[in-house]
């Protein structure tokens, strides 16, 4: 263990001396934060919550219409009404609104006969997040109505007074619907910009995390690895030391990026403990992936090239450049294999002041990715630490 520390300390000293630690750990994340601020300015505004532009097509279902409007107002976005679905679709095409509820005229009257109709949600093609939020609201509303119907029926059959039971049940339904927290977890997402920022941070992290491991190949090329292995140092200790350097640099650069986001962009990343856990999970996953690419390469240059390809592919799949896979299907499943997705997912779950426990699931998946890739790397890097 002592030699692990000596090797890691030497590597960090060399990184400080050749100034790469400042470039990777400080200048690059600050530059990235600056770019984010310029391109996505205000992405983190309003304490990280997302305000979709919603609307509704006018109908005779006044009770439902007003309930949906009340929920939308809680989200903070604008609310528009349209005379008919055609007008709503035109507004969606023009970008005036992101998602529109279409409630059938007979929706409220059917409730009286115990039937619950369908609420349609029209969404803009380039606003899948808002569309999913609108769909989530509609789904939750319908579920609440069903629950209310069952509760009322049960209360009446048990001898309750309908004139007292029904208003109380409706009031309870309204209360349960006006909190964003009640929207399904799978709909609670970061907005496009914030999601991209999180994805880009993970994309950048894949390059930072490779720095320490890359020195394994550099030392092999320069002959110093042979000399280290001739000392009382186990090959696994060398690997551990290189991984520690990658972890330290990864955490440092990500923290710089997060702090810069707070200072420069007034970002609110969420619960500090949750963010810290996500940073650790994200860095470990990035180091694991970097270890695999390093283990596949024969030279530092080759490792850099492989890492570039892997980082780009994972970045594309993980939504670092544009959000994908939100509408389900095979892409959604592939996206879930990337650390970018779970890092963004974790931050999204922390949005709106949610507790750290909301990030546990994402952190667990990041650790799974780290574990699987580390196991692969242990096999692949075995030949790197032999002469």
């Amino acid at each position: 263990m002592r030699n692990v520390i000596h090797i890691a300390a030497k590597d960090l000293r060399l990184r400080i001396r050749d100034k790469s630690v400042f470039i990777i750990g400080l200048i690059a994340p600050l530059a990235l934060a600056f770019i984010f601020n310029t391109v996505f300015g205000g992405a983190f505004g309003d304490e990280g919550t997302f305000s979709p532009d919603l609307g509704i097509v006018e109908s005779e279902a006044d009770q439902t219409n007003s309930t949906l409007e009340r929920i939308a107002s809680q989200l903070g976005g604008p609310w528009k009404t349209f005379a008919d679905p055609a007008a709503a679709e035109a507004a969606l095409d023009d970008g005036e609104v992101e998602a529109v509820f279409v409630v059938p005229d007979e929706f409220d009257s059917n409730l009286a006969s115990g039937q619950i109709g369908a609420i349609e949600v029209l969404g803009a093609i380039d606003a899948s997040t808002s569309t999913q939020i609108a769909a989530g609201i509609a789904r939750n509303y319908a579920n609440s109505l069903r629950t209310t119907q069952v509760a009322i029926a049960s209360a009446i059959s048990a001898g309750g007074n309908p004139t007292e039971i029904i208003p109380a049940a409706i009031e309870a339904t309204d209360r349960s619907l006006i909190s964003l927290g009640e929207i399904d977890a799978d709909v609670r997402q970061l907005d496009t910009n914030t999601s991209t920022v999180a994805g880009m941070a993970m994309f950048f992290l894949l390059f930072t995390a490779q720095t320490g491991l890359l020195s394994l190949l550099e030392e092999r090329r320069d002959g110093t690895l042979q000399r280290i292995l001739a000392t009382p140092t186990r090959p696994a200790s060398v690997l551990a030391a290189k991984s520690i350097v990658s972890i330290v640099l990864g955490v440092f650069s990500l923290l710089v990026l997060i702090v810069a986001g707070i200072v420069l962009m007034d970002a609110n990343w969420g619960n500090p403990l949750g963010v810290a856990l996500l940073v650790i999970g994200g860095v470990l996953a990035a180091v694991g992936i970097s270890a695999v690419t390093t283990g596949m390469a024969k030279t530092p240059e080759q490792a850099g090239n492989i890492q570039g390809i892997v980082a780009t592919v994972l970045g594309l799949l993980g939504g670092a450049f544009f959000p994908i896979g939100q509408d389900g299907g095979i892409l959604a499943q592939i996206t879930a294999l990337t650390p970018h997705y779970w890092f963004s997912r974790g931050l999204a779950n922390l949005a709106g002041g949610q507790p750290a426990s909301e990030a546990f699931g994402a952190v667990a998946w990041l650790l799974v990715i780290a574990g699987v890739t580390s196991a692969m790397a242990a096999v692949l890097t075995r030949r790197q630490v032999s002469v």
Partner: protein, 313 residues
Amino acid sequence: MTAVMVAKGLAKSFGDLLAVDGVGFSIYQGETYGLLGPNGAGKTTTISMIAGLLEADEGEVRVGGDLINPRAVTPKRRMGLVPQELAIYPDLTARENLEFFGRLYGMGGEELAQRADRVLEVVGLAERQKDLTKEFSGGMKRRLNIGIGLLHNPELLILDEPTVGVDPQSRNAILEAVEELSTAGIAVLYTTHYMEEAERLCDRVGIIDQGKIIAEGTRRELVEMVGEKDRVSIIGTGPLAEVVRKLSSTVGVAEAGESESGVTLLVEDSSSHLATILATAAQSGMVVSGVEIEQPDLEAVFLHLTGKALRDV
């Protein structure tokens, strides 16, 4: 004498290439053992297994009685390795390089500081100890490369062709340093394809070719083993035919003949018989103006054993 290192039946293949085939030898305390062979003979593969860098396919190496392999820790404390290629960090100073490797050997504090001071003096870099090694000349880097191997006072020091690409002045300094090591009781394994280095430094030599040790012993033993004799040229004038006739029957002379400047003899152990030979020549009427003695060297032994010259391979 105590064997510091014992290698038995070492074998190593890389794919279809059998790089080392049943190599075995021992090195004793204070002994300098030379592994002499052309490039590609298997020297570096052999010392990589001895240094615990490479797992042997067959055979074993024990240093101080402990088995060595890439995962072994204890026997590596007793060894120092000076690789053929420079293995130092250019962005660390000479002292930082020494201290880093010293710490990997478990050294620290005052002990490490004192040993670093001592080694810096030995390799002549005390005044440049705070300079980054990327600013050093090739010779200085070579000396530091050796100094790192000496830092922890190893019982066995492995030097893999340490003078390759070194200027004559630094080369001589390196050879002198190695001579001092054996005086200090350190066992040295020295690989080279320079015959004159092996002759100068090594108490015993193992000649390796195509992955096998084809002969082993002291220089004299190797020469005797292949039956090589000293070539003695007596320069002078007189009745050379008579001189040749008389010398042909002199003890120790295997062969005699006339040459342009006198007579040439093949003699077994010329140092023992030279006085008798010169007296016989004088009695035969030869006026001797000079004597040249060529003793058979390891180059000749290698040529005899393999049919090829060391440098040609």
